[in-house]
Symmetry: C2
Subunit: 332 residues, 2 copies
Amino acid sequence: MHRILSSFAITLFLFGIGTAQAGSRPADVPDGMGPLPAVAPIPADNPMSAGKIELGKKLYFDPALSKSGNISCNSCHNLANGGVDNQRFSIGHLWQHGGRNAPTVLNSAFWTTQFWDGRAPQLEDQAKGPPMNPVEMADDNPKQLMARLKDAGYAPLFSKVFGKNSLNYDNMAKAIAAFERTLLTPDAPFDRYVRGEADISKAAKRGMRKVDEIGCTGCHSGPLFTNNSFQRFDYGTDAGRKAVTGKAEDDHFFRVQSWRNVALTAPYFHDGSVATLDEAVRIMAKKQLDTDLSNKDVSDIVAFLNTLTGTQPEVIYPLLPRPAGRALDFRD
Amino acid sequence: MHRILSSFAITLFLFGIGTAQAGSRPADVPDGMGPLPAVAPIPADNPMSAGKIELGKKLYFDPALSKSGNISCNSCHNLANGGVDNQRFSIGHLWQHGGRNAPTVLNSAFWTTQFWDGRAPQLEDQAKGPPMNPVEMADDNPKQLMARLKDAGYAPLFSKVFGKNSLNYDNMAKAIAAFERTLLTPDAPFDRYVRGEADISKAAKRGMRKVDEIGCTGCHSGPLFTNNSFQRFDYGTDAGRKAVTGKAEDDHFFRVQSWRNVALTAPYFHDGSVATLDEAVRIMAKKQLDTDLSNKDVSDIVAFLNTLTGTQPEVIYPLLPRPAGRALDFRD
């Protein structure tokens, strides 16, 4: 990955962009901040391939992953919509609500753990959660889901990607994860600014310096604006990571969320209780840094956060496998 | 439209297709059957434009059309999936179920009335139904929906297409209808057969002649395999068109469904009570034509119906307008 980034930088240097500043990092950008990496880490046991990504895309958009046939990955992590559903708590099986706000799938390939409480080490593990969650897709067991995917006609598609008799829960998760690793959002206005390709507003620049100055970037650090750590956020009743580890010291600990595309993912926090980014910024500064922000500070920081909305992935809507002339066995 | 079709035929004649049979209609194709028309009728008061189609696509895929923010047109008329949801009765607001099987949106631009009971004259009228239906998208009134679409950021998009201050329910329906008029499925195996470009199986040919011989094509006639009439189908408790007209003679009357893409739209009939196309064919022949089909007849007819699955529209998944850093007002 480093090599790819380096040659990209060299290319920029050699060919320039046609403006005086092209390729030069503005002096006011705080250390550590930088453009979104071009590719996400890929696990050795799940190499990417065009076929696997295409299969993963079908699975991602297929409501047949849910017992009812009504809910797909995309229902809650909508790629038309910043990779979220803008609900406080997503609506699942039988219109039940989940207990935490659905995080965006965009750039999730970069997180070193998944879910608000980090209970899944990587995307392959995450993808196996919702299908069996009784308030989400609600299948009784992976066998039932695999039978339905077989019925839908997925077996030959899995064979092409994973070899014979390969329609199983692990491979389903691998294909979905491979697709998700393509869901990156490069070229945000901030990225173009850091690369010296374009300017951002004065307000955004003030906000950029302010988040560094008051210490937000202690945790929201690096090109992803998260150090992937767990931090105590004493807000609401959710015990967070404590429920995973059983340790009292993890009470109210949550994974530090990325700021990438944060302007698209309202409402905010693990409980989706805050409707605006302004309010979320104000609360975080007070709770985590004991800092009272002025209205101007908030407005500047939000202007900066808005520059982190990147180019959304262009997705050709897939065609799903289905048996000709026969209904699938969907159940409430 | 006629002119377009004629010049298309001339083009085929002049340039041929490179096989001996190219351009010649096989002798065994019953009169009246033919390839899907290249374009659907366009109403004079809703001309097509690229901008309107793109706006309509966003609206079609936008769950903000529903009060809950959870249900889009595409939820029940899924373009990944033959334009349907493969549910017996679609799942709507608060997980309520509708009372009739969701028809496909594909080629719906050709129907002279919409809905099973024909209660909407054209697509523009149809599009105004589900948003206000309490068991579907469940908005209380168009004003509430328009306020939410304005909140979402649609006003400038409407302005570009319809002029200033044009965000209203009629224009929403017009844009959706314009998009739907692009959802045609040309080049089905049957169409290529009729045009002398490719062969279909012997079973499909027997089925093609059989549906003509026993009289299915009395109603399922022409290139769309529907004459768009209402016919009595004495099956189940649904009074059908009678509920629209109030006339006793319309009791149990339903719009004749097209056979185009019928292999993709299980389960079957207005009440979605039949899981397989085989069974649907058998029941229709018995109920409507008093004909007992042999297993071979059924299998032949289904082979023919399978040749009516056309090329599905390729759709680039849209990006939806949303306010930066602010949640929309979705309600259960």
